[in-house]
Symmetry: C2
Subunit: 152 residues, 2 copies
């Protein structure tokens, strides 16, 4: 319990006062909706990249690069939505997140790093083959975090 | 009708093949959900900036600058969600958008420009007063587009 409280307070501090004061009546609900919206936009960008890599749609270098750039930026947005107490409610987030906060953050950082690399590779790649291995590395970081920390 | 078709086809082309192929069964529904998710994240960033400007919460220069940077980036995301035909369904978007596509795009571009300026100003501002006028200019571009093109 003491550990949980500590994590909670550290979380509040790392989010900053403005974030805590961000939401209205139900802060937890707002935070859950926020991070789900972020994930939705991540998927929106990720999915067509996957289709290009798999050859289901033609490789469009400019579009792929743009989506990879979006992804790298978006990867920095989810964290502030994981406020303490937001494992309760309409969410697939497991309590394990807050019990393993440093590990959760490390896994999110892996996603940030790999998607930044993907954006870099995509700038000059001209074929799906050119982005494939880094796309797979990035996809692994999604799974790497969802498996321990997301229900379903 | 001919004009509408033209706008529709131009819209499809400007979105690119990958975007059109982005969604699964119900492309329109996905596009509506996508742009609503973008708007939610925009509000999540915008609201605490407003509270700082109004003095409801203390001015946190670093947090404000980060949110302004997010906003400037996010302002480029909504457009691709306004695919032809997505005025039907669970949306507040008016058909007027597709009937006045160039004007709609210009209004969205005004938001992009003003939020980019806000991000620039926020980099060096140390007080709420320092960002206030540019924050107001940015807020005007929200209203400027919502008034003609959004229900409610």
């Amino acid at each position: 319990m003491k550990k949980l409280l500590k994590v909670g307070i550290a979380g509040m501090l790392s989010l900053g006062l403005s974030q805590v004061a961000n939401a209205g009546g139900d802060m937890t609900e707002d935070a859950i909706e926020y991070r789900q919206a972020v994930m939705e936009i991540i998927v929106w960008n990720f999915r067509p990249m996957g289709k290009m890599v798999k050859g289901k749609i033609p490789y469009d270098a400019q579009a792929f690069a743009k989506k990879a750039e979006n992804l790298a930026f978006l990867s920095h947005l989810p964290l502030e939505g994981f406020i303490p107490g937001s494992d309760k409610g309409e969410t697939d987030a497991k309590s394990a997140i807050w019990n393993n906060w440093e590990d959760f953050k490390a896994k999110l950082e892996a996603f940030q790093q790999e998607s930044a690399k993907l954006a870099e590779v995509a700038k000059t790649a001209t074929t799906a083959k050119g982005v494939k291995s880094q796309f797979i590395e990035t996809a692994k970081t999604c799974k790497g975090c969802h498996k321990p920390y997301k229900r379903n």
